[in-house]
């Protein structure tokens, strides 16, 4: 995969916070290159990214700490370029080059 936006791939950064980084090799920031379209030819969206993260980036086999029933598990906020993903269409959001996607688990301690 290329490292520039050549039309065939989309390069984005993916961040994990609030303890989720533990599932991804204790690394907070990942550079990710995705195909610009999925296998059916549709533009790559958040559903694709979440599946990609589970199969390619997650080091920890406890997938259910990240995804439950094929959706992000309750208690995780998803931010697209620092805005709640509900403002952007959630799973249907089509990824753009240089997007930053942040997954952060909500905390309850004090």
């Amino acid at each position: 995969m290329g490292t520039t936006d050549n039309g065939n791939t989309i390069d984005i950064t993916v961040d994990f916070s609030g303890g989720l980084e533990m599932l991804f090799g204790n690394q907070r920031r990942h550079s990710v290159s995705l195909p610009a379209v999925d296998s059916s030819g549709k533009p790559t969206n958040m559903t694709f990214l979440i599946d990609y993260l589970c199969t390619h980036l997650m080091k920890d086999p406890r997938v259910d700490l990240f995804v439950l029933d094929k959706h992000i598990r309750p208690g995780i906020l998803v931010l697209i370029n620092d805005a709640d993903w509900e403002l952007e269409g959630e799973e249907t959001y089509e990824l753009q080059p240089r997007d930053n996607i942040l997954f952060v688990s909500t905390l309850h301690g004090g």
Binding site: D15, S17, G18, G19, R28, R29, D60, P61, R62, V63, L65, L68, R73, P74, G75, I76, L77, L79, D82, A83, D84, E86, L87, L102, V104, S105, T106, L107, H108, G109, G110
Partner: protein, 388 residues
């Protein structure tokens, strides 16, 4: 505390206002110090716990000499030394669906300094129904979060203008209990939770001094509308603080995240919400069940005969009464680093879970859940497990 924008009228508003701090722990202690220092007229503190030695590294208003005292009394003792002038109200018990409305209704603003999801949803629901602004913070291990909710407050179900969200609007569902960590078991850095508590006080002072807790007609206008993006009220910012032990403060240490406004389908503040004070008092909704606290108790996997105390183990081992065996210490690496029983092999419980999940996913033999050095000489080697 005279700074640009904070003059006589701001100070007068603070003197005439009241704040309820729910939770007198790692968030509540630092928050209360600055709330008291700001000269807020009435300060209520609610917490049902007593001071414990393991609290002191982060719960900075308590003291070694007050171990065993209700946290509420210990904190108020400390606050009176800082500032004797405010009226301090002590509530030495936990918030419940039954006691919440009566107490919270007496205050202008609520600080959520608690430590569990069920109480956080309960506090937010009361704030919606009583129309109180809520300054909510949380912290675990090396992360902190802060958000101002319900500010300015507006009645349930109002959508003819942009309204601020409640806790449920932003955090629709709690995590499954297995994914949530409490400070006691997960650990917490004192400065991280302290920073979030201090920030809560800062937000509270700002709201009260500018009268944002009051309905618009009782607030002196300073120009600008509530929907100004700079004021962030109806689409608040979630501040997250990530503390990295391995690096200096960096560009992502603090992040400001834009949240949505009030949600039409919110259970508490949305259209057609059925949430009422009477309902909450009567047990509807069931907060413990919503947050999974009513999970069936784990079945005991070991019989009493299969258990051994550390002292009995030590004695049996010294007398040579034990067969060749493996001693497994399943505490986290950091705990083990302080010391363990001679000869113990450290395989943290989290690592065991990961190995088990990997075998389930990729296949493999059950004994591969243990690394080779912890398997002894085959399947029949007894294993003693130490977790205390």
């Amino acid at each position: 505390m005279v700074v640009p924008g904070m003059g006589k009228y701001g100070q007068l508003r603070l003197i005439n206002s009241s704040v309820l701090i729910i939770g007198a722990g790692g968030l509540g202690c630092p928050a209360a110090q600055y709330i008291a220092g700001a000269g807020i007229g009435t300060i209520g503190i609610m917490d049902g716990d007593v001071v414990e030695p393991s609290n002191l590294h982060r719960q900075v208003a308590h003291a070694t000499s007050r171990i065993g005292m209700p946290k509420v009394d210990s904190l108020i003792t400390h606050l009176r030394f800082l500032n004797p002038l405010p009226t301090y109200m002590a509530y030495p018990f936990h918030l419940t669906p039954q006691n919440g409305a009566d107490i919270m209704s007496r205050y202008d603003l609520i600080l959520d300094c608690t430590d569990n999801p069920a109480t956080r949803y309960l506090i937010s629901d009361f704030c919606v129904l009583l129309q109180k602004p809520l300054v909510s913070a949380a912290s675990v291990q090396k992360s902190g979060q802060l958000i101002v909710l319900n500010c300015p407050p507006s009645p349930q179900g109002v959508f003819d203008r942009p309204c601020a969200p409640c806790y449920r609007c932003c955090f629709r569902k709690p995590p499954p209990p297995s994914a949530d960590l409490s400070c006691g078991e997960a650990g917490i850095m004192g400065p991280v939770v302290g920073m979030m508590g201090v920030a809560q006080a800062g937000e509270a002072i700002k709201i009260l001094a500018s009268g944002l807790h009051l309905p618009p007609e009782r607030r002196s206008s300073d120009g600008g509308s509530e929907t100004d993006t700079e004021r962030n009220l109806t689409q608040p910012t979630l501040l997250i603080y990530s503390y990295d032990l391995a690096s200096a403060v960096g560009p992502y240490t603090f992040r400001a995240l834009k949240m949505g406004g009030r949600r039409r389908n919110c259970f508490a503040c949305g259209e057609g919400s059925t949430l009422t004070l009477e309902g909450i008092r009567a047990g509807e909704p069931d907060y413990a069940q919503f947050c999974g606290a009513l999970m069936p108790p784990p079945t005991a996997a070991l019989t009493p005969e299969e258990r051994i105390t550390a002292a009995a183990y030590d004695e049996a081992r010294r007398k040579g009464e034990l067969p060749p065996h493996v001693l497994l210490d399943i505490r986290e690496r950091e705990h083990f680093s302080f010391g363990g029983i001679d000869g113990a092999v450290n395989v943290p419980f989290g690592k065991l879970l990961m190995n088990a999940a990997k075998i389930k996913r990729d296949g493999g033999e059950a004994e591969e859940v243990l690394p080779p050095e912890a398997r002894g000489n085959g399947r029949d080697t007894p294993i003693f497990v130490s977790w205390g």
